[in-house]
């Protein structure tokens, strides 16, 4: 293994986990694109550029995990709000459980180095 592998792997893991972070942001609340994008970008290391979130949202819609409705706004143009579907909720629950197991498992081994 070379050091470059690790950053590549992190990129791949982020790509894999990001859709579920979007679903999680929609768990209790409907949100519009700019809002979603800003919330994700505010957390370090989650997205490299805001624009790449839109292809992801489009994919989630096509997969039936998310649906959208238009709403008027008091300031500026109407917003396209994203909402979790029942299937999206199930997908999120499954991932959340698997993720907790995976995270704890990796942490059990890898986390020891840093906690010394």
């Amino acid at each position: 293994m070379v050091p470059g592998d690790a950053s590549n792997l992190v990129t791949q893991m982020r790509r894999g986990a990001l859709p579920y972070c979007v679903l999680a942001l929609l768990r209790d609340e409907e949100r519009y694109g700019v809002e979603l994008v800003r919330l994700l970008a505010a957390v370090d290391g989650m997205v490299t550029s805001e624009g790449t979130l839109y292809p992801l949202l489009s994919r989630l819609r096509r997969q039936g995990l998310v649906e959208t409705t238009w709403r008027e706004s008091t300031s500026g143009p109407p917003r396209r709000y994203h909402k979790l579907t029942a299937e999206g909720g199930r997908a999120l629950d499954v991932f959340a459980a698997e993720w907790a197991r995976f995270r704890d498992g990796v942490e059990h081994f890898v986390g020891k180095e840093t906690s010394r």
């Binding site: 700019v34 624009g51 790449t52 839109y54 489009s58 500026g76 143009p77 396209r80």
Partner: protein
Amino acid sequence: MTTTAHELIDAYLRRLDAAAAGLPPARRAELILEIREHISVALAESPDQGEPDVRTVLARLGDPEHIAREAGGADATAAPAGEQLSARRVLPGLAGALVLALLVLIGEVVGWVALLIAVVLGWTLLRWPLRQKLLIVVIWPVGLGLAASAYAGGGEPIAPVVALAVVVGTFVVVHMDRKAA
């Protein structure tokens, strides 16, 4: 908004449109529309919608080429998965050869049963699109049936040639179909 601000946005969207040329038309239009919406909403929420704000919004969106790649990337990586399964690609040929051997060596009834099994196995195991799977179900029974009747009619040298042509033909047709897709 100033003229420069408008020009900046137009130039950005043109770059995105060009970069997304490889996407299916509906997806390309959807992407442009959503980025356009993002820009207008993000600007509406900015303090003064001037040129500096436009530059900031576009910079945060990132490279149009990067966005277009992301839009095409996830589907592009899904396609080659079937290509990697070389064993699965050989399978139809092996099944065809087996059917041919049974038809010629053992007899018609066993041959037809083998053909049925081969078609069912091919249908369930192969990760091909539905259209290509239909080719198997049509080409194999018809072609191998012809080969069998040619054999039964005493045309022994013809039967293996027809059967071989069917197996090879399946590959050629599926391969061409894939290239076209």
